[in-house]
């Protein structure tokens, strides 16, 4: 069973719809027992970093999830804001702390000649192939104004080019995360979800 964490930061329905399509059983929840019982977790989310952390904290989900993922090593997928919140620090709208599971910081995309937010379909270059079988150099849907800058390049699973190199995906032990929306990226996105939840 996959638990999709519901913390009031939008778009849980789309994630479940994609899992349903792949015939992966899931539940949308913020209930401690259900999260503890699930064998895999998804943290989706759109919105601001600060609001996301506030919502996690107000429900005690930051502590619970850290225990499940970092201590118990439960398989975890973070999507978009759900990837960014893994950082030690965020800057949206001002500096504040994140879950801190992956060393690094989330910064505003700025001083580039292109438009911000980075919005639309962009090519993904795979660095760690575990969950990207058959989709290297495919287009995925991005929609974000902030990007994850990890301390170590070794956790970067994929990048995309937007005049600067942007981290498109992270992987560290049992933690996998995407800046793009696999649930909104049609065939390519469904393939990544299939690779993570079924073929892995």
């Amino acid at each position: 069973m996959v638990a999709i964490i519901d913390y009031g930061m939008g778009n849980v329905a789309s994630v479940q719809k994609a899992l349903n399509f792949l015939k992966i059983e899931s539940v949308i929840t913020n209930d401690r027992e259900q999260i503890e019982k699930a064998d895999q977790l998804i943290l989706p989310g759109v919105g601001s970093f600060l609001q996301g952390m506030k919502n996690l904290q107000s429900k005690g989900l930051d502590v619970l999830l850290t225990n499940e993922v970092v201590n118990k090593k439960k398989r975890f997928l973070g999507i978009c804001l759900g990837m960014q919140l893994l950082a030690e620090k965020g800057t949206e709208p001002h500096e504040n702390v994140g879950l801190g599971w992956i060393k690094g910081k989330v910064e505003r995309i700025e001083n580039i000649p292109l438009r911000v937010p980075h919005m639309g379909w962009n090519t993904v270059d795979v660095k760690i192939n575990t969950f990207y079988k058959d989709v290297d150099h495919k287009d995925f849907y991005f929609i974000h104004s902030y990007h994850f800058v990890p301390d170590s390049k070794s956790v970067i699973a994929a990048t995309t080019n937007y005049s600067i190199e942007i981290v498109a995906s992270l992987q560290q032990e049992n933690i996998f995360a995407t800046q793009f929306h696999p649930e909104k990226s049609q065939e390519a996105g469904l393939t990544v979800l299939r690779n993570f939840f079924i073929n892995a």
């Binding site: 778009n11 438009r115 639309g120 379909w121 929609i143 049609q186």
Partner: protein, 248 residues
């Protein structure tokens, strides 16, 4: 490399899909759920669904119906119509919308737009900019009796750090005679946000003209898909001939 986006726009009147000309004379063009299913099977880049009469008729968007539309979509969807509160936005995001498109409330309550951006992040908030030419000046089309220039309105929205604009030429809407290139060009110079240009696409050459003569990275269209044989894929193949990056 980022690809340009070709976005079908579904306009809804509370009962079915309609297509307007110059924002009037709505003509019934079908069922929204069926249309969404077709566009999804064609792998379109994104979909925009607007209930264009919700604000006028002072009613909320039909969440059940919008939910049914979104269920068909494995691509991003923007939804607009009668959005007035944080709760309205939350309701739409919960059922799978990725962005909300706001017009009327943006004209009357800049504070609300700021609040929405702070809560949901700018990437979530798209502003509909409906432009009509009056005495050779670009003005914001509205039914509130406001005399608001395009420039003044955009400055207000820029101060809110909104995520995207859907820029529609009311004069070209439904006419299928080409885009208002001067308008799009001017608009792209006033903002560094992504823009979806809408209004006037009727032939393949209109799209290549739009993307070669302006810096716009997304186009929205309805009439060409309702009233001709052309599909979003045909537009992409045409753009490819002009070396414009598309996702095929």
């Amino acid at each position: 490399m980022l690809k340009v986006r070709i976005i079908p726009i579904l306009t809804f009147n509370g009962f079915g899909l309609v297509k307007t000309k110059n924002f009037s004379t709505p003509r019934m063009v079908g069922n929204p759920v069926q249309a969404a299913r077709v566009y999804n099977s064609r792998g379109v880049d994104e979909l925009v669904f607007l209930d264009i009469f919700a604000s006028d008729q002072k009613r909320k968007i039909n969440l059940k119906m919008v939910g049914d539309v979104i269920k068909e979509c494995y691509m991003p969807v923007g939804i607009g119509g009668g959005i007035e509160t944080i709760e309205d936005i939350n309701d739409l995001l919960k059922i799978g919308a990725d962005k909300v498109v706001i017009k009327t409330k943006a004209l009357t309550d800049v504070g609300f737009i700021k609040q929405a951006v702070a809560f949901f992040g700018s990437q979530c908030i798209t502003i509909a900019v409906d432009v009509i030419k009056k005495n050779n000046a670009y003005m914001i089309h509205n039914k509130l009796g406001l005399e608001l220039s395009l420039e003044e309105f955009v400055l207000k929205m820029e101060s809110c750090d909104v995520g995207e604009y859907v820029l529609t030429s009311v004069d070209n809407d439904g006419m299928m005679q080409g885009f208002d290139i001067a308008l799009v060009d001017l608009f792209m110079k006033t903002t560094n946000k992504p823009v979806v240009a809408v209004g006037g696409g009727g032939d393949m050459s209109h799209y290549s003209e739009l993307f070669t003569k302006t810096k716009v990275e997304a186009v929205g269209s309805a009439s060409i898909f309702h009233f001709t044989q052309y599909t979003p894929l045909d537009i992409k193949k045409e753009l490819q001939k002009h070396s414009i990056p598309v996702r095929i």
